[in-house]
């Protein structure tokens, strides 16, 4: 082993640019802000700008010295219980980005400002962390995901249509019934009402036709929904007009799961939910359980409950996947494999399970990562199948919902063989389809569109999301009389005679079922901001002239029916209060599953289609067998959230890419195909092709490209945010293929494409690349469970401790009364990004746009660093190079201001704008800041952000467009701002404040209504509230019973850059991988722990390390 340290043994890097030391990366390393970061974006030089501004300042004078005359509009009757300035919390439920959201909404003065998870909902309450299951209720928080956190911004989206639009012909300029010079103006109720009046006339005519034809000329396009009310109303419409045709369209195909359950005999409509609380071994095959899965929040909670190395038991997560997903980065062991080869692997695993062979888990002579090809795969299969067999009834095998029927069936079958059904895998018999009504598939509908004279469209923007070979637009055009319920005037609206404004889920009554069938009511948090907007149930019942058109009554009736016919006022109110209707869950399937591929028959499908194919598993690139896998975006789902700026600018979990989709592939694949990062590659399959920028991710499967859906809206139709961002995949997508496209030709075009990725921004610069390689293992410390057991202090020993850190000056006293601190558990963090958006929503963090992100000006107070790690020494000795598949593991590390007790930023501020509080919070006084940026320069964590522009008022939400919108629209978007936090202006530094507003309000509350002390759990930061895996703990370090105190005294706790003696208040708990011994890599077997020889304690010289060093 090398004497010089660990630089070339275990090597961490954050991007391929860094690994290859490209000029772009070196620029990031040597400059705090990238070159030209202080230039004005539209070509006006800084100097010219100052000249212009100087002139206008001189002319400005001292006009109006006193504050503007301000009027206070008092209530006429204040709502009962409302105290102005005190937040109210309401439980609600809605369907969002294909998942059920059980939310607790913060409402200030009747205005919703934040959406969090509802800890009382059974989906979350059942899986409370064990350490405070029965204890203090205040400690409970549910967590949520980035989609949910960002849903509040979509409510105040300025691009929502304010009134009904009427188009005389396809793609015509719509009649908006507003004066020509006005764009959408939500304040202009009169115009909006006029449009509704006109629409009303149309509906009246249309109803007459409907009654005459019994609906034989009408089709309704809908997407499968988790809302029982929508399904019930659709069924009512069909009852009234039996000849109506239903057309089912799913933009993100996942229908094979339900079909497989049906084929296996679990009932026509049932759902499968994993209970990871009971799963000691989790095998995820191309399934992003902790990320893209619709149940990810619940799974993350359950998963993290068993991630403590000192807990009763620690689970083990295997992930085999083509893309690098959130689940893959959280996995204990991950194998990169093409999605099209997953069925082969599954077959081998099943065979091994059938054989019942258990391979003993012991350290092998050759470490896992020195193996090649088939030996490697065999060892993985042995380990997975042995672990599954050893944990019968306590394991989960999950496959991606985009996989085929055969794969789904095999997964059900294997789980049944392992005795997991009813224990760690639960199947609920719930109603989740429209009872007894057959629906046309979209392709069949398009083929016979001419048979219909009118159509109602419910799914968001199907013309955009549909596969390119299916000409839905033409079908809509042929029908002509199309009514579309939508938030936006989008691509689909172009082909619709009428576009009717839809409500946001926070504006209307609705309901949604959890996957286990528990009904949650969605109550409106605010009256529709755009007068007249309709929810789907209201829209359908009005169009079909049903007797009940009131949203609330429809939802109540559904709840009554689901409760078996009676619903008392009391039950209703209680259900609204707690956020779910007690006693509505589906019952668990207890019958026998017949998922054996050979015994299933019927339905006209031959049984062989259900059998898993067999094939050779090949980890290396096979140029003749390249695949493309399409996934909904981790940021904007299928594109329906595209106009949400927070999500567009969210650095996606693994790529850290913003504002774009790309063709993500591995280093080896890129090298062998001659592709460069950021170059456009043409992906072709038959006649279908698309050009996308290449994005290289180490550890991605060889011969596989992952591409996200939802991008590439046209500039005209995408709205202010989504327009002209990313690449549209319509020309590539084929209707008959769900997600996995094989036999791809990938041809580089050498055309560069600017990608806005945040991964190299704010690199923790430590004096050059070599040093960085040396230090990175100290920044993100990790070890295996075996190592932790033999040496719990390995985290400390990761670093050499030559002498005790001492300050030259007297240290400030910053622990008076309270001592605020935070712990982040890297072993629980999955890097899902919920905290990033939560912080943005809570703290009025603006977005800056793609161009500004490229300049390194993104404003996120909390970023998630992700480090790739690759054992290059072992690769070299095994004769592997970067053209071979490499095992890159990932550690994610949320990074925000650590509130150093001896903060370097404070030393250099010339105006004392950043100073310490007595309780240890590094505070920012924005109005004192003069914008020298010295503090950002001196911050070792690079967490300070500078407002180059008035992002919140001028730039942010409508970045990239010349501003000609109405004042009212700006008012609408500013409603999302949290009044508890100052909105920062241009030229001011900002950063994480530990949610100082929550700290202050918590302290005030403890004194006005409490016992004068803040107790553990009283104050939670926004990121902590949003974290579904409970990785973030905030609290008082003076309170020895607090969780934050206890976690900071865990042997896994460490400070990043502790040698600088800055005494950060945010500590991290090291990552522990529960890797089976046979799959340990060389570096995991013999980790370098330089601190061990110098460390203060030499307690446990373990046999483990002794054997292999």
């Amino acid at each position: 082993m090398s004497q010089s340290g660990i630089d070339h043994q275990k090597r961490y890097f954050r991007s391929v640019d860094e690994l290859h030391q490209t000029p772009e990366f070196e620029q990031f390393l040597s400059r705090e802000f990238p070159q030209a970061a202080s230039e004005f974006p539209e070509g006006v030089s800084r100097r010219r700008w100052l000249q212009m501004m100087g002139a206008s300042l001189a002319l400005g004078g001292v006009a109006g010295c006193r504050y503007n005359r301000e009027e206070v509009a008092a209530f006429v009757m204040r709502p009962e219980g409302r105290i102005p300035g005190v937040a109210e919390y309401f439980a609600t439920n809605f369907e969002w980005a294909g998942r059920s959201v059980h939310a607790l909404v913060t409402s200030l003065e009747g205005r919703p400002v934040k959406v969090d998870g509802n800890a009382d909902h059974p989906a979350y309450a059942k899986s409370q962390p064990t350490e405070f299951k029965d204890s203090n209720k205040k400690l409970r928080s549910a967590g949520s995901d980035a989609f949910t956190q960002a849903s509040i911004l979509s409510l105040y989206d300025q691009d929502r249509i304010a009134g009904c639009l009427n188009r005389k012909s396809a793609a015509a300029v719509p009649e908006r019934f507003v004066p020509a010079n006005k764009k959408t103006d939500p304040d202009d109720h009169k115009n909006s009402l006029k449009s509704w009046e006109e629409f009303g006339k149309y509906v009246a005519e249309q109803r007459v036709k409907l009654a005459a034809t019994q609906g034989s000329e009408l089709a309704i396009l809908y997407e499968p929904t988790r809302s029982p009310s929508v399904r019930r109303v659709l069924a009512e419409v069909l009852k009234k007009y039996p000849k109506v045709t239903l057309v089912r369209y799913e933009s993100v195909f996942s229908g094979n799961v339900a079909k497989a359950l049906d084929a296996a005999g679990a009932g026509k409509t049932s759902s499968m939910v994993f209970d990871l609380d009971q799963a000691k071994v989790i095998v995820s095959l191309d399934a992003d359980l902790l990320g893209a899965d619709s149940n990810a929040v619940q799974y993350s909670r359950q998963f993290s409950n068993h991630r403590s190395p000192t807990g009763e038991w620690m689970n083990r997560l295997y992930s085999v996947e083509s893309q690098y997903s959130v689940t893959g980065s959280a996995a204990d062991f991950r194998l990169a494999l093409q999605s099209s080869q997953i069925p082969f692997l599954l077959r081998k695993i099943e065979e091994a399970i059938d054989a019942g062979k258990i391979v003993e888990d012991k350290e092998e002579e050759i470490p896992y990562n020195k193996l090649k090809g088939t030996d490697r795969v065999q060892r993985v299969i042995d380990s997975i199948s042995s672990d599954l067999l050893l944990n019968k009834g306590a394991s989960v095998l999950a496959v991606g919902s985009h996989h085929s029927m055969a794969v789904q069936l095999a997964a059900i079958r294997i789980n049944a063989k392992l005795g997991n059904i009813g224990k760690s895998v639960k199947i609920y018999e719930i109603e989740n389809e429209i009872a007894g009504v057959p629906a046309l598939k979209l392709n069949d509908f398009v083929a016979k569109a001419k048979e219909f004279k009118s159509l109602w469209v419910l799914p968001p923007n199907p013309v955009f999301s549909v596969a390119g070979d299916l000409n839905l637009a033409e079908a809509l055009k042929a029908i002509g009389d199309v009514v579309y319920l939508s938030n936006y005037d989008d691509e689909t609206a172009d082909y619709c005679a009428w576009t009717v404004p839809a409500t946001h889920p926070l504006e209307a009554w609705g309901d949604v079922q959890a996957p286990d069938g528990v009904l949650g009511i969605g109550q409106p948090m605010i009256a529709p901001l755009l007068v007249g907007s309709k929810s789907p149930v209201e829209f359908l019942s009005i169009m079909a002239d049903l007797p009940e058109t009131d949203g609330q009554k429809i939802v109540m009736e559904t709840a009554r029916l689901l409760l078996g016919g009676s619903l008392s006022e009391r039950t209703w109110k209680e259900s609204l209060h707690i956020g779910f209707v007690d006693g509505t869950g589906g019952k668990q399937f207890a019958g026998e599953l017949k998922a054996d591929g050979k015994t299933i028959s019927g339905g006209g499908i031959s049984t062989s289609a259900y059998e898993l194919p067999s094939g050779e598993i090949r980890l290396e690139l096979d140029k003749a067998n390249i695949e493309v896998v399409l996934h909904p975006s981790d940021a904007i789902y299928d594109g329906r959230l595209g106009n949400n700026g927070w999500l567009q600018e969210l650095a996606q979990p693994i790529t850290k890419l913003t504002w774009d989709n790309a063709a993500v592939c591995s280093i080896g694949t890129a090298n062998q195909l001659g592709l460069k990062q950021g170059e456009l590659v043409a992906l072709k399959q038959g006649g279908a092709s698309v050009k996308l920028p290449v994005f290289v991710v180490p550890g991605h499967a060889e011969g596989s490209f992952t591409v996200n859906l939802g991008y590439g809206r046209s500039k005209a139709k995408g709205g202010i945010i989504a327009g002209a961002v990313g690449t549209n995949l319509a020309s590539f997508k084929r209707w008959e293929q769900a997600a996995i496209y094989t036999g791809i030709e990938a041809i580089g075009t050498s055309v560069p494409y600017p990608l806005a990725t945040t991964q190299d921004h704010f690199a923790l610069e430590e004096g050059g690349m070599k040093e960085q390689a040396n230090r990175a293992p100290q920044l993100v410390r990790e070890g295996t469970l075996d190592e932790y057991k033999s040496d719990p202090r390995f985290t400390y020993n990761t670093v050499e401790h030559h002498f005790e850190n001492k300050s030259l000056w007297e240290e400030p006293k910053v622990d008076q009364n309270y001592k605020w601190g935070m712990t982040i558990d890297l072993n629980k963090c999955t890097g899902c990004n919920a905290c990033v958006i939560a912080c943005q929503a809570e703290n009025n963090v603006p977005i800056v746009g793609k161009e500004q992100v490229i300049r390194g000006r993104e404003m996120h107070w909390l970023r998630i660093d992700r480090y790739f790690e690759c054992d290059q020494e072992a690769m070299k000795s095994a004769g592997l190079s970067f053209t071979d598949p490499i095992d890159a593991t990932i550690v994610t590390q949320p990074m925000a201001c650590a509130h150093c007790e001896t903060a370097p930023c404070e030393e250099v501020c010339p105006v004392a704008a950043t100073v310490h509080t007595e309780e240890g919070i590094n505070a920012m006084a924005y109005n004192r800041c003069i914008g020298t940026r010295y503090c950002g320069n001196n911050c070792p964590y690079k967490v300070r952000r500078f407002n180059y522009f008035n992002y919140n008022t001028e730039y942010g939400y409508f970045y990239g467009w010349q501003d000609n919108r109405e004042q009212a629209s700006q008012k609408l978007q500013s409603l999302v701002l949290n009044p508890e936090v100052t909105v920062r202006g241009r030229g001011v530094m900002e950063k994480c404040t530990y949610c100082i507003q929550r700290v202050q309000n918590g302290k005030i509350k403890s004194r006005t209504t409490g016992d004068g002390r803040v107790h553990d759990g009283d104050i939670r930061s926004a990121c902590q509230d949003a974290c579904s895996s409970q990785a973030i703990i905030f609290g008082d370090l003076n309170d020895k019973t607090s969780r934050v105190y206890q976690s900071q005294h865990d042997p896994r706790a460490y400070a990043v850059l502790e040698e600088l003696n800055i005494k950060p208040r945010t500590l991290y708990l090291s990552r522990i991988r529960n890797v089976p011994k046979r799959l340990l890599t060389a570096v995991q077997l013999t980790p370098k722990r330089p601190g061990k020889s110098h460390g203060a304690e030499h307690s446990t010289e373990s046999g483990h390390n002794g054997d292999h060093s």
Binding site: V62, C65, R66, Y67, R69, E70, E71, V72, A73, A74, F75, V76, M77, R78, I83, P84, G85, V86, N817, V915, H916, T917, E918, I921, A923, M924, A925, Y926, N927, R928, E980, V981, T982, V983, T993, I996, Q997, Q1000, N1001, I1004, R1007, T1008, G1012
Partner: protein
């Protein structure tokens, strides 16, 4: 040349006056006395009739805001005549012209647009409940509102003024029961200081002066 010198000096002086004198909160804000849509007399209601401040400003001890009362609060006493012209049972001045905006608001459901007097900048977060529950009286920041026919801003409410009290709260503390008794006095200055020191110790009142106390 000399002229230029004079002009420069005069310009400097002018700028100095503008920035140091005319923009001082004492000059700008103290004494601000806008006319309100309803000539509501605090001197009558709070002074003569001895109504508690919290009858109207009823969230002052619960929230950051003291709250401008809803129209309904006025109507409790000043309900308008019914459509038939009959005054309500306990109505006071049910046909007063001065009460027209109140009655209009009640009938139409439109707010009364009161003019805001005390206004801190957006980056300052003041919390009423934190102060009144600890024995800082209304009078400390708002003056003898119970003697004001038309309310004006009595104190400059500048940062220095806030910090002054946060550093030395003793002269301004009183028993919590007396916070809305604007006429209350501990007696002499020495007596007040003694009481303030006692209350400060009893209630563990140690106001902080770091930036984050008010700036978030």
């Amino acid at each position: 040349m000399a002229l230029l010198g004079v002009l420069t000096a005069a310009g400097g002086a002018y700028a100095g006056v503008l920035f140091l004198g005319a923009t001082s909160p004492v000059t700008l804000n103290t004494g601000y006395r806008p006319e309100q849509p309803v000539p509501f007399s605090h001197a009558l209601h709070a002074g003569e009739l001895k109504m508690d401040c919290r009858y109207c400003h009823n969230s002052v001890d619960k929230s950051a805001h003291s709250t401008i009362p809803a129209t309904q609060t006025c109507i409790n006493c000043h309900s308008p005549k019914s459509a038939a012209g009959a005054p309500a049972l306990s109505a006071v001045h049910s046909d007063s012209r001065k009460l027209k905006p109140v009655h209009d608001s009640w009938r139409t459901g439109e707010s009364i647009d009161w003019i805001r007097i005390h206004r801190l900048p957006d980056f300052v977060y003041f919390n009423h409940s934190a102060h009144v529950n600890r024995g800082v009286s209304c009078v400390t920041c708002h003056g003898r509102v119970d003697q004001m026919e038309i309310v004006h801003q009595d104190k400059d409410q500048s940062m220095a003024w806030c910090v002054d009290c946060h550093r030395h709260p003793e002269p301004h503390l009183r028993p919590v029961e007396e916070i809305t008794n604007l006429a209350w006095s501990a007696g002499s200055e020495e007596e007040q200081l003694a009481l303030g020191t006692k209350l400060k110790a009893e209630k563990n009142i140690n106001p902080l002066v770091n930036c984050a106390v008010c700036h978030r």
